[in-house]
């Protein structure tokens, strides 16, 4: 039995929880398939049983893919705290894929808006971005997220250098609040759902802030979030 499946959750962030490369590859493949399931479900419904998506399938698809983009964003941001708390360093190996799936669902979400809602009317889309704060914020987070996805390969990390690459990828700390704000401003009245995302995000970012504050007190060296 691999060490990470045993009961003890709290471990020092040492070299514990090592997985074989084969196990990691298998888990990655499983994660890849699992992450496609929400889209597969929508596609199957759209083509074979549109009734299941209700009378307004475009709205259903836009909302569902937006939800999944936010979920993948939260899961991606949860990797660092989980790794530190559990000591399962192998978790880091899945972070890139999770982040890319967030971007993937963002793209489907945006395509749904561009095609179903705006029927590719570029003029209307530009007007919308300028005029409606929730679209402005959503568009901004898309623009900021794109370079992160584009620099996700090992080659790009090498080209940029680890330090510059990491500074660039800290943009996610701006993107995530913007994405939640996009949801918050979109809902008409009932803010329960965006408030839940805001709370999760606050915990995930608060954790990093706490680590940073604690480590700056104990040692002078800069902490890595």
């Amino acid at each position: 039995m691999p060490a990470w499946t045993s009961g003890n959750i709290i471990r020092p962030a040492s070299a514990r929880g090592r997985l074989s490369e084969r196990a990691i590859a298998a888990l990655k493949a499983a994660l890849f398939v699992a992450a496609l399931l929400p889209l597969a479900r929508l596609a199957v419904a759209a083509f074979f049983n549109p009734e299941w998506l209700g009378p307004n399938p475009a709205e259903f698809i836009t909302r569902a893919t937006g939800d999944w983009a936010l979920r993948f964003l939260m899961i991606t941001l949860a990797i660092t705290p989980l790794r530190r708390i559990s000591g399962w360093n192998a978790l880091l190996r899945f972070r890139r894929m999770l982040g890319l799936f967030c971007f993937f669902y963002v793209l489907v979400h945006v395509s749904s808006y561009v095609s179903f809602d705006q029927v590719f009317d570029v003029g209307e889309i530009v007007k919308d971005i300028g005029k409606r704060p929730f679209i402005t914020v959503g568009f901004t987070s898309l623009v900021l997220l794109t370079p992160l996805a584009a620099t996700s390969t090992n080659a790009m990390i090498r080209r940029l250098g680890a330090r510059r690459w990491q500074s660039l990828h800290r943009l996610v700390y701006l993107i995530a609040p913007l994405a939640v704000l996009h949801f918050w401003w979109m809902v008409k009245r009932d803010i329960t759902q965006p408030a839940i995302y805001a709370l999760i995000l606050a915990v995930l970012l608060g954790y990093r802030l706490r680590i940073r504050v604690l480590s700056s007190r104990t040692r002078p060296a800069p902490a890595r979030a």
Binding site: V44, A45, F47, F48, N49, P50, E51, W52, G54, P55, N56, P57, A58, E59, F116, D117, V119, E124, D128, K131, R132, P133, F134, W185, M186, V187, K188, R189, D190, T192
Partner: protein, 314 residues
Amino acid sequence: MLIRRPGDIRPSEITARGVYLRRREFMKASGALALGAAVMVSRSAEAQNGQKLTGVAKSSYSTNEKPNSFKDISGYNNYYEFGTDKDDPVEYAKRLKVRPWTVAVEGEVRKPRSFSVEELLKFPLEERIYRLRCVEAWSMVIPWVGFEFNRIAKLVEPTGNAKFVEFVTAYQPENMPGVRLPVLDWPYVEGLRIDEALHPLTILAVGLYDEVLPNQNGAPVRLVVPWKYGFKSGKSIVKIRFVEKQPRTAWEKAAPQEYGFYSNVNPNVDHPRWSQKREKRLPAFFANRETVLFNGYGDQVARLYAGMDLRKYY
């Protein structure tokens, strides 16, 4: 009063042929692949043992556009007292207690009185097939069954002070999961100017597709004002007050810059968060038609707003 026949626009004149044809393909595919249907959790939007309404007369105010299916009309609803998702009302509105039910009519009237739902069902009922345009830019065609609101007014005799009518809707906290959150200032209140309320297009609906209203559509009695955005047509009405001052409505209180008192369907006045230029006639993937001023009922109602700046009084 001169009432003209509605200036109807055929769906075929508006829906792009390609879009229309594609929808058919989707429907065919869905029929052919029952397997897919079997795996999916089906949405239960069945009638709740709908009591049939008989002796319903046709009306020349009805549109000849094809009505939406009973399933769509009763499965895709905004009824925030039961939750803010479109499929919440069909699931939770079963709990709404609709009997016994009385509607109190009071205020600036000579003969205040109340009506039991049984009395309301005895009014001569008409089928009114109306377009319904939601402020969220989708629309349906709905075969309501009801009677003109002005029949109520005739019985209670409004005084000269009655300038507006306020409609107060049901508040049953024990049966309405949505009212636990302060989403709106409950109970939901709507209002009309008196001439709008007395207009022959304004009806109190008690049925849908020849059955009593399903709960999620506003049982047992609701307002329907077809030239205004859907939220103006309050559901499950318990009190009607004739008043002198313009009532403060629930959405106006919640977001005055987004939902004005008049809220007439108007392609030229955008909702601050989305355009009203086009609309999506459900079921459809795409916004498939242009929004029409007063939801296409301009011939009948435009005169009510002669000389008014509709941008200011949105």
